[in-house]
Symmetry: D3
Subunit: 251 residues, 6 copies
């Protein structure tokens, strides 16, 4: 493709620069600062023994997530939801999406009666905060599981992870299907879709929304193909990050 229709010069099927920094925090059992271009999310995995009351005695673990944006992660400051005394619908919705996505690659039996909470706090938002959160949270989850295994809290041979998981946005911007929308693209997209897939290419979540005119089946197919390509690239980035020795945590 000789000239890009995208404002930042990317090819339609090109991700932004992806950076995954492991062990960004000292206290958390797993933590990742994940960056999709200017989008920057801190993913902290907290491992605790035991499960919520409604799961007790069943021999299975639990993985959940909470997503939140810092007030000045956006272009203009947003009020803190805590100060207003209630959490907005979008925040709840994304928290639930992240949790569901991670549980898709967890064998809760193999996890034992343990709980892992993934806190995804958006430090800077430039589109794709939920997809960056899922992609980064997976790496933090791996580290938290290995930390627990090293401490004997998970059996040596147990395999709580059944695969890897990543997420990416795709959309139709100015008539062109593109991969990994940043904020300027996202806010003008005619159609916006978030896709969560395993590293092996299985679909876990497909959430597409027509922001303007409805989209047709051919457009849907084009978007799904772009998403599959993006997930491949993100899976490679996750594996590369996990293959390198991380910063030593100070405990």
């Amino acid at each position: 493709m000789t000239s890009s229709p995208r404002h930042d010069g990317r090819a339609p099927d090109q991700l932004r620069e992806v950076r995954i920094t492991r062990n960004w925090l000292d206290h958390a059992e797993g933590s990742v600062l994940v960056e999709f271009g200017r989008t920057r999310v801190l993913c902290a995995a907290s491992f605790t023994e035991g499960v919520p009351r409604w799961l007790k005695g069943q021999g299975t673990g639990w993985v959940t997530a909470e997503y939140e944006m810092l007030p000045r992660s956006t272009n203009t400051r947003s009020d803190r939801e805590a100060r207003k005394g209630k959490v907005g619908g979008r925040t709840h919705e994304i928290s639930r999406l992240i949790g569901r996505s991670l549980r898709a690659v967890i064998d809760t039996k193999a996890l034992g009666e343990n709980t892992i909470v993934l806190d995804c706090d958006v430090l800077q938002a430039d589109g794709g905060t939920r997809t960056a959160s899922i992609t980064g949270a997976y790496v933090a989850l791996v580290d938290a599981i290995e930390d627990a295994r090293a401490r004997g809290l998970i059996a040596a041979g147990a395999k709580p992870l059944t695969g890897s998981i990543a997420a990416v946005s795709v959309g139709i911007v100015g008539g062109t299907p593109v991969l990994d929308l940043d904020y300027p693209e996202d806010s003008t997209a005619e159609t916006d879709m978030n896709v969560v897939m395993t590293g092996e290419g299985g679909f876990v979540e497909v959430q597409g929304t027509a922001e303007g005119a409805p989209f047709d089946r051919a457009e849907l197919d084009a978007l799904l193909a772009l998403a599959a390509k993006g997930i491949d690239d993100l899976t490679a980035a996750q594996q590369a990050a996990l293959a390198t020795a991380p910063r030593e945590r100070v405990r």
Copy 2:
């Protein structure tokens, strides 16, 4: 197909019995009791002149929705969210979905500076409460717009509606793709997808979730085909309801 794999004997591509009762309420500008089998949702459309502050002076209207389940709509009683002082994530998420879906067929300029709120209260739940809500709310929306037009609040020639909208669930149950899942099916589905489409077949929302194993592209295609068939049937039911004179409201 000679024998059905479904517990209630339906064909895989068959909807439950759909009933749409218009003007179920006297006060509301539009109201529908919609039933998908045993699922029963009361959709009330409230038309008010004026728009929220952030929209004032732009000459455009607003359509939004609120979804809620009555405590005993389900098999065992759930606590009222109002009493607990906070609304759950699922409730928020569905409210937002219904609002977005209806706005996809609204020309807010043609609506003028008017607001329509769709209240979708689930009186009885047996799977598909969000899809029944969208399907019924569209009919209540049509009635509210015509009521406003009759009162001179919308210009005689204005066309605030750009099409019709309906929603249906599809899923993979026991390995078979099926249409319009009831609660027993929904709770055992391997994959669950809600699809919102216009009467003309354009996609407005596609929300698919793997509850168990990830699903592959062929399964996704089968589900999308079933959904398109179901939307056709629901669109016909909406049109049939709108073609009949409704009960006279007592004002």
Copy 3:
């Protein structure tokens, strides 16, 4: 009385048309759609084994109620209390009144350590929503108790109900004492009184309020006589409903 002073032509001591539809819901142990004219309340009785913590081990049961109005039950839409994060004073007050009234005919010892919650959701409001709620909830309560007895959760010979209960409003409108006020009457009444009585004519609650000028003893006596007449008629309607076989619930 040759000519009625009431806007709808009723005699001063005449109820609106009363309809009591049992088993309106499939899931609830007892449920009633009760209508006092255009006022329409869905009363669902939920039976659960066990009692709240503060009652445990005393061999007694518990009956309580929650009342709420749907947003578009009224002439103009009201915001949902759940969305505002707090329940208003009127809602609390009526919930407490319904619960107290029902407990007046319950022998909690005979109920055993079981809880029945009555949810009274006003689908359409035209005056008298609290009195319709109590009158309908009693019938749902009877059905829930018999359902529990049929399932062996209440002893065959136990008599948890010591009588029947109904409620009606009376008031002084345009100088005339009248029975069962609808909304236009209620909003112009000089005095408004809600009376809860047993089927045998005992008083359980008397709540009278002067909306304008204070009322004197003679007026109070006239209102109490009207109420007694209305309760007799409502008791007959309850008994008629309970004497007929209800719709079969689909479970």
Copy 4:
């Protein structure tokens, strides 16, 4: 009656010792420490110019009330409702009762566009906190109106008060109708009734509840007679307090 059936030796128709101390506070435009025996309520009347938004421009004023119990007003400490983030049903119900009762003797036109808030804080509770609140709040209201008149905020000849108001409880205790129940009586009463009346004997509120068996018409009549006697005595106490020069406020 030669011997009293009451635990404190009072005659059935005898009030507890009533004390009304005006200007207990320096800041409030009117304030009263009212005592019905050991029940002790601080009633503060706050006068402010202007009215709530929904009343603006109509030339009428507003009177409202808020009731609350201090945590250790009772025999065992209750949690503060503010700390729990929600106000209970009983608190709301009594606040509304006090406000309604006072408005029954207010001519809001004569008050002009001014607001008076009555804060009734129960410092010590021994039964009858709502009736003491109404009785004391009336005196604080008189003082606040006269203070406003002295400052020229109410016209010299205006008569915002159309009468006096007081409240008392009556009940059936051990089979005997009695006046002004203290806590031991209240907690064992078969029937409990709060009556709000003007000084001239008109009824403003009648709220009777059967705590045990329903009560009959004869019992109701006996209670209403006792209440009328009690209101006479309280009206005399209010007038006596208002006839004496109060403590000078330090401003």
Copy 5:
């Protein structure tokens, strides 16, 4: 000092009139109405057996405090925090300060597994409400401990109190360091400091804030000297109050 620079004629190192009335309430195990001039705080100590869950089984007790201002304790009425559904920062901060201060003289082992809650409700505010609260709460705490000892809930020889505690404000007003600021002084002070000390002169809390220009070390030293003098006087007032037989509580 021949002429005072203070608006009420006090010497710079002179407290307002301090009054400590014990057993102002009948129900509370200890209660004090404390007055620093026109500032009037009701301090109620509630003793309960047992401790919060996180302390159970450690053989230690717990002392905590809650501070709140009545709506009309101030010159203009403030809204109730309970009605707004959230407690403000200042209220939390002072509650925590009072609790911490009292715990500084408590031997929680000697208290046994018992809890004492100190409720400090400001009935009238004229500056120094937190220092009056601490000073009064100490006396109520002594009474609650002795009441528990008399009932055998604390061992005869146990010494839960390791000393006495009092608090006072100091500040720089019009360039002059002064003791125990009332509201007019407090609102114009350049520097304001609250000091909590034991009766023996040890510091427990020092909280100084420059309201206008920063203060220097010499000013800080002057303020600390004034505070020490004020604490001596308050300690004497506490001891005098405790040396006198209090009003008999009616239980």
Copy 6:
């Protein structure tokens, strides 16, 4: 001092390593990642034109702050206050402290009718989060003011800042007065004091608390001297950071 009594080898009067990274965010008008050893706080300054309603028309600006800890900033995960629907006392208290401290060096007249909000989010906590917040927020505040000046929102010659501000903790640990306590020191300190001072050495806040035994005057003097030394070092670090060209923001 030849051998340190501190667990990390610091001299008693030695700060942890201090790092101040400007423009860590692209959107915020000023932003700083401040680190006191392992304590890491993100301070974002948001500049908006206009002031809260209660300040309008007075020609003065407003500076305020909000402090919050991310759930996994601590050794074990804490629940989000937003999810619980209320913000804790400590969070409020520190938010207020930061705001007050910054306002001590602001000339609100020179700021014009503009508002600056400082969001201090603790990413990792190891003691001293409030002192790091104040120290970092000052630098972000300088940047936000210069950004506004560059955009013409503050007059070229206006001097909204009257000085610099920094904060440090001091305490007595194992009998020794030390500077800048980390978490292990803080949790075992006998006395803990936070001191906020201007760069020129004036006191703005002094908040000392005896955690165990009360402290005497000599100890207080030693702590104040250590604090003055620490503030000098922090002021130098602030000036060094401000003297260097920061990372260019991508807007």
